[in-house]
């Protein structure tokens, strides 16, 4: 016991077969395709790299203004602007290939078929360690309904993707639901190897002088420290509802925030908006986790996962 304090604690975790040096990775859409932050932190120090959400074809995204700051949060309605799968393979993958860190591709489709098609295309790219399925983006409406807000639709899309995908599959849930545990059980049953949550919470802000919404898209997704207590609660619910590992997301800024998610049972975490505020945030969080383990005399971070005392 005393000796354990001397050797460096282990931060390694494994999610759906993806081995990570530590449980910290960027949240999709907040870290570009990795390259944007290469000058600010060591990408090989991260648990994984999660890309901006990709779709089959390039996507232009929404008109501006696309972001609005709110109290301890931000709204975004980027509209899933991305280079598309071909653009990704041509322009972004070559850089990521050289980085010794698992790459997780976040993706979405506009129809069930498109989801399947993207899954198939991604299956053929060897450099990809796993995929994260975005069924939860509040900005993209599919005939008015968002896949992830309905357990039946969520099951359908995950099952469909599962059929075509030969990679570990992480299903990313939306928080804009009455009971996230129900959706979590549905996607687990449909074959997800892991669950990540939460995506952004739909919000709105108004410019009181012009009387117009502050986002061209009217509403957008709220992220940042403002939503953390909601995210911690939902991750706690999901962990109790399913057996697959859960990745906690929402408002993580510092190591203590990441610890909250791990303690309620997340096996790893994603850091989103905090990257914008401080490009070295994830490096600081990883260092902070190690420091915490040393201080508490914990040898392996996995001992901490789900250690909540009730």
């Amino acid at each position: 016991m005393m000796d354990s304090r001397k050797k460096r604690p282990s931060l390694a975790v494994e999610i759906a077969g993806i081995k990570m040096k530590n449980p910290v990775m960027p949240a999709s859409g907040t870290f570009g395709y990795g390259e944007e932050y290469a000058g600010y932190l060591d990408l090989e120090g991260l648990g994984a790299i999660v890309t901006k959400g990709l779709s089959l074809k390039p996507k232009a995204g929404n008109p501006t203004p696309r972001i609005a700051e709110t109290t301890s949060g931000m709204l975004n309605a980027i509209g899933l602007q991305n280079v598309g799968i071909d653009g990704f393979i041509e322009y972004k993958l070559p850089f990521l290939r050289e980085v010794n860190t698992p790459v997780i591709i976040n993706f979405f489709g506009n129809t069930l078929e498109e989801y399947g098609e993207v899954a198939q295309r991604l299956s053929d790219i060897p450099e990809i360690a796993g995929v994260e399925l975005n069924i939860s983006c509040p900005n993209v409406k599919q005939g008015g309904i968002v896949f992830g807000t309905d357990p039946v639709c969520a099951h359908e899309v995950v099952a469909h993707v599962r059929k075509y995908l030969k990679k570990p599959l992480i299903a990313k849930l939306t928080p804009n639901v009455t009971d996230i545990a129900v959706v979590a059980r549905a996607v687990e049953e449909a074959g997800a190897d892991a669950i990540s949550c939460i995506n952004t919470i739909t919000g709105m802000a108004v410019d009181v002088r012009t009387r117009r919404p502050r986002l061209a898209n009217r509403t957008g997704g709220l992220s940042g420290p403002a939503i953390r207590p909601i995210a911690v609660r939902m991750v706690h619910q999901v962990v109790q509802a399913v057996k697959v590992p859960v990745i906690g997301i929402g408002g993580i800024v510092e190591a203590a925030d990441a610890l909250e998610f791990l303690i309620v049972g997340a096996s790893a975490v994603q850091v989103g908006t905090a990257n914008f505020v401080d490009p070295s945030a994830m490096a600081d969080i990883i260092a902070g986790l190690e420091k915490f383990l040393v201080e508490e005399g914990i040898e392996d971070i996995r001992e901490l996962i789900g250690s909540l005392e009730l």
Partner: protein
């Protein structure tokens, strides 16, 4: 040294509502190009979540102190108090801890040596033009046309004069220099030297008017734009403007933070630029 923690050397009111902040920044000058910017926040407390973008006004050095230490390098920003973030900035003191991300973005292109350069600044839009003037003065004649609503909005003009820049001031209310818009001064200036290159930074209506003037005369123009920014490094895609040839079918978005903030006029889609980037809370300027 692109994301660094440092301290404030001084923070003083320049004219009502405008401040000059000096930030200790060793080695910064060797990296920074005219027209680039920083993302700033106070470390002590964050009144806002996101950092705030500010142009780099000037790099300078404190005189060496008595112990024969090397002179301390600093960067200077000039800022206007407009909202929550800048309100808190004005209350920061010497020694307060701050964080700087930068230099960021693409700066100005110096263009052809010898050919006259006309800088057009509107209010706080003057900021990125100072380092540009320093650089251009080495090879070309430089004129500054500076505009503002009132005399309070005319900043740091004597500092440009000290560089040897010819400066012309206009104010909307005539309280300093000529009465009228800075664009009128531009029209006159271009009558005299139609071969000049124009560099402009200021409120969007000014930028659009400058564009019309230059475009109709075939004069080269570089503009520095503002946009709402979250990351400053090209990751969030929040700060985009439409590039030339943009259409819904063939979107051509450019990140103001990474591909800008300085753009050659030809790069942009000017059709609805002002309208779509009029993000300021109720700001009609």
């Amino acid at each position: 040294m692109k994301n660094f923690k440092t301290i404030i050397l001084s923070n003083q009111e320049l004219s009502p509502g405008y401040y000059r902040m000096r930030i200790l920044a060793p080695g910064f000058g060797a990296m920074a190009r005219p027209g680039q910017f920083i993302m700033f926040r106070s470390r002590m407390s964050h009144p806002s979540l996101l950092r705030r973008p500010f142009g780099i006004f000037r790099i300078g050095h404190l005189p060496p102190d008595c112990e024969g230490q090397p002179p301390k390098e600093y960067l200077e920003i000039l800022y206007k108090v407009v909202g929550r973030g800048t309100s808190v900035m004005q209350e920061l003191h010497q020694g307060d801890r701050v964080e700087v991300l930068g230099p960021l973005g693409r700066g100005f292109d110096a263009g052809q040596p010898g050919e006259e350069k006309i800088l057009v600044g509107g209010g706080i839009g003057l900021v990125p033009l100072y380092m540009l003037a320093e650089e251009l003065m080495r090879t070309s004649p430089v004129r500054l046309l500076m505009g503002g609503r009132t005399r309070d909005d005319i900043l740091a003009v004597t500092e440009f004069e000290r560089l040897g820049v010819k400066t012309y001031v206009s104010t909307d209310d005539g309280s300093l220099g000529e009465e009228g818009f800075v664009t009128e001064a531009l029209v006159r200036a271009l009558e005299n030297s139609p071969a000049a290159t124009v560099y402009a930074c200021g409120p969007m209506p000014m930028i659009e008017a400058v564009y019309q003037i230059c475009a109709s005369r075939g004069v080269g123009l570089q503009v520095s734009l503002e946009a709402l920014m979250a990351c400053g490094v090209g990751a969030c895609l929040g700060c985009v403007v439409k590039g030339a040839g943009h259409s819904d079918q063939t979107p051509r978005y450019l990140c103001t933070c990474k591909e800008g903030p300085v753009f050659r006029a030809e790069q942009l889609d000017w059709s609805r630029l002002g309208e779509e980037n009029g993000y300021c809370e109720g700001c009609k300027s």
